[in-house]
Amino acid sequence: MASFKPTKIQVYPKLGEKVTQDTLYWKNYKAPVQIKEFGAVTNIDFSPVAPHNFAVTAFTRIHIYGPFSQEPVKSFTRFKDTAYCGRFRSDGQLLAAGCEDSVVRLFDVSGKVALRMFKGHTKAVHVTDFTSDRYQIVTGSDDYTCRLWDIPNATELSTYQEHTDYIRCGVTSKLNRDLFITGSYDHTLKVFDARVDKSVMTMDHGQPVESLLLYPSEGLLVSAGGRYVKVWDLLKGGQPLVSLKNHHKTVTCLSLSSNGQRLLSGSLDRHVKVYNTTNYKVVHNFDYAASILSLALAPDDESIVVGMTNGILSMKHRKSPEEAKETSGQPRRRPSYRVFVKGKNYVPKQDDYLVSKPVKQHLAKYDKQLKKFNVSKALDTALESWTRLRKPEITVAVVKELDRRGTLKNALAGRDEQGLSQLLNFLIGNLVDPRFAPVLVTAAEMILDIYQTVIGQSPVVDRQLLRLQELLEKEIDYQRDLLEVLGMLDTLFASSLPKKEVPCSAISRSNGFKRQRQTYGLALVF
């Protein structure tokens, strides 16, 4: 006596994103820690030295967070107005920040009061950065100038007045103490050399420039502005290398993943995209709740910190290896320990007669009903809203099984208005899905046969039937278009590849034919 074999649920290949090494890598982060700041988070900067604290510039404050703390380790609050661009020096000891009140302040990370105040700009300073020799500061301001300051004397060394609009971003070279690059709302990027008193290179981004990034090798420069991210080859005199248009709103921030293999860009469209820097293809995508203003990655990608317009700072930490393993298994609720132990530790006595208990086979509800040949009930179970919406493959598998048993007609028949509309809803949702179409077309034909007589009695059902008809007509048009395209492709292939077989096109064409035939057949019933 064999046991009942349950209905086989077909496993379909997942449509949409493929599982690649990148998705696995970038998904391997814990749930984000979110901290509410006082205003929009405009800048995040990681300290170059361990333990890699990071400075978050938001509204009139700069908070410094430890790598795992959720409370600020330190805060700088001595700003009269909105602070901008708090950046660490390369030794992690000093921090410079611009301000809406045009004063640039320099802080000791361990102190509280500003060590130096650089006054000279006339408008808000959005860009500050240390040069690589650690003794100078580069600032860029809304007064269209960028200036170079000496830290020990707090004096201005030089002023460059070449931009014709706000300067909102800039970087200094890590290899050369005299080179720095600024980007401005006048659509240009300018490379300045402190040894000469004017820019040495100008590149046109085409959009107001929001963010700049230098590769560690400093041969390539990445700029973001408008919806574009552009890569420039500095060694070839600022020749544009690639232009990426993957966001649908202004790109606001850029970051490199620490090994330089991946480039991340954050945008007002609330996405962070990860690019492969060899072919500049998007390999991963993060979604956030609000428009992103700032983005930073800890060394070795240990955490991703994102600041948003609504003042929320989101930190994601990488999972440790053991945690990663833990979550790979399904976090399913299991019966308690007691259930498994129950009776297991009982040692039978010498003259006890052992009765072997048959292992009970667990069956899903619809399988139990199928086992009892309750076909209508099984279909009802499979059409329950959770299954129908979340796991349509189960419903389709049950329909297929009923069809195989030759009892699909019985199961479909004898339904009231509610049941029928539920069924039609499911059909409308899944009929044109190529994975389910072969099974559901048969079912749809049967439904139309059975319920032909009741058409016109219920407005709900009638409306749904009309929708089904529309859906089919649309699908037929779509298939026809596809066939036309395939025909064109065939001609192209035939002319370009003489004598060779073109297996792929031939097969997909016949697939298309079949689907169209099916849908035609159903349309004829209407």
């Binding site: 074999k5 349950p6 086992k371 099984e401 195989r404 030759g406 297996p503 792929c504 097969i507």
Partner: protein
Amino acid sequence: MVEHGDIRVVHRGGSKINFREPVITNDSSFLLCASGECVKVFSTSTEECIHDLRGHTDLVTGVLLKPSNHLQVYSCSADGTVRLWDFTDGILIKVQLDSCIVFAFTVPHPTLSVMHLLTKGKDEKLFQLVAVHLPQSGDQLVEARELSAVLSDVSSNPAAITIGRGGEYFASAKGLQLEVYFFRKQKSYRFSLKEGNKKGGRNTFTCVACHPKDDCIATGHEDGKIRLWRNFNHKKEYTYTTLHWHHSAVSSLRFTPEGTNLLSGGVESVLVQWRYNQESQRDFLPRLGAAITHITISPDGALFCTSHSDNKITIIQSCVKVSAVIQGLVKGESVRTDLMVDPRSKAMVLNGKPGHLQFYSLQRDKLLYNLDIVQQEYIHESGLQQFEVVKAAFDASGNWLATVEERKQKAAELELNLKLWEFDEQTQSFVLNTTISAPHEAQITAMCFCHAADSQTTMLVSTSKDGHFKAWQLATPARPSWSCDFVGAYHGLVPKCCCFSADGSLLAVSFQEVVTVWSPSSWELLTTLSQPPGAIRDLCFGRLSCSKYLLGTTASNLLCCWNLLTCSCKTNCILEHLHGHQPAAVFVFKPSEPRPLFSHKAVCSGKVTRAVFAPREDMLESCEESSQWLNCSQLYFLTQYMDLMTFITKAEEDRLMASSKQLVIDDSVAMTPFYLLLGKHRQQQQENQDTLSTLSAERTPLPQGSVAIKELLQTPAHVLPSTSFLCSMFVQSLLISESKHAEEEMESEKEEEDSEGEMESSTSRPREASLAGHATETAALALTKAQARELRRVKKLDHSWLSGLLDS
């Protein structure tokens, strides 16, 4: 072409065991069933076939226990004879000749000493029920002349005739009529039913059963109804009640010996137990595997036994537990997968139960297991389209198995699944690795694995009616799975078959008349070969020394052999006579020679549909040129009627015969307390009687092989007899007699007399016939003396408890 005298065609397994209902012996330990030309005796506890009762020359059509002696059994056959066997030792006792074809027995009459047979005249259409008086003569061959027809024009189905309570009447159903014939009154009543009712139920009778204690006849009908007839000794006032559970025809009905329950079975493969007089109470035993064809109940009512359409007998203990399954070679309607040999187990593989592949051991003539390919609940309903396994292929090492299953619905398109199974060393069975749904647009016509043993990649090629052939390759990213590697076509023609060369460097695919040869490494079309008249039906590469040849058969009875080095057609052998009247012939060729090596005409009735070379376990050392091709492998073939046959040489046959005679029937009686009480007593007595003979009889050359040791070691301690009793036996088994052959002979003769004497005392019937038969049999067997003695001793052991019972 020469016919070879010393190579013979033999039936090899696979004969039906579900043709007629089996018989369970009175002690419920054996089950006898008709199987082809012999009667097989199975043990009900171990499922093993203990021995065959051979002697009939045609299909055995019925088995019946002799009512007066429950150790004997009648069998009837289509050759017109009825034979009486002593089934415990399988010796033929009586042969009775008839002048017509015997179709079946009916239930024996309890009081009259006549046997009722369902017969058909040699040239008549109608079946009739005849009574035969068994002459009580001692001759081995008896001619029965006095045949008296009891009922004429009865159904050909033996299930539709039965004898009623106490042998008072016969009930026979045919078509829409039930006929009850009373012996006393010599009068028959007929009851007719209407052809069908409004709902389209068909009232045709299918089977009949009579209540053993009550005047009640149960009849099964084509629409699944069971009717219980009462008051049928009046023409007018008969009544019937209807029971309905089955949805299609009831194929078998039986009352239990006490009459408390009624068992019924049909296509649903559910055994239904109805309480007599409380018919609303039913018990079910579902999912027995295949449609039930017969139900048998042991005389004490403890065991039920159902025969199934898939050549299976299930033994059920008191309607709740399946205790044993005796499975023969499963026979479907056709073998759509070819015959194959599993490279690992050397078992023959072919279609089995619906949706399964069966692995059949040729050496042991036993079904090893069924591999579930479809993995879906089988719905037992006629007329339903089910998934069928249509193609299967093994790779060279037996690591991979590819199967194709298909289901063709009435209107909709074909459902196809290609499944690839990997052999799992731990569980020693095939585990599903990849399922490819809809691998092709149309039916798959052929499939083969690349046979190169040392190649890095495993490759499978499938050809389909959609005009493409596809190559599937094992890809190993993380977990090995199969994916399509190449799709090929040739001028839109439909490929029919494909074959890899032995080293895997060439792939031949036939497209109607054209054979294309491809290189699997680059998928280049290397060459095309063609033989215009007739499409290619089969393709095969030569092996070993003949690997340069490609062989093909065409629809116009042509066997072509291409030499691939010269790309020329080397030999054409036109098998014209295949066209003619000769129904079945087997030819064996060597690829390099145009003349057949061996041919055998008229090997069987019907066509030879499939054939396979199965490797032998041990090589045969035949020096004769004519039979050298049978040295390394054996050719098995399957006929149209699904009989598995093979060729066997004379020498091999003799060897097999000798080995089968050596098999000792080890069916020793269970060590029950009852046996201990009586059997011990008896044995001690006997020991006192003839100490000398038993002493030496107990002796065997090796103490390990002795039965005494075996009993001592294998019997559970709590049922062992006293140590004092065992001690003498044990010591005896260790003794070595000084006397050799001369003395042995005398002793064995003496012992034979002893045993005979004992049997006579135990059963009071005259046993001359049996004696004669016994003597001739022993002479014919030409056993060695030691073996003969062993046999006799075992026999004595069996009967001792019985004789002890009778003595006391």
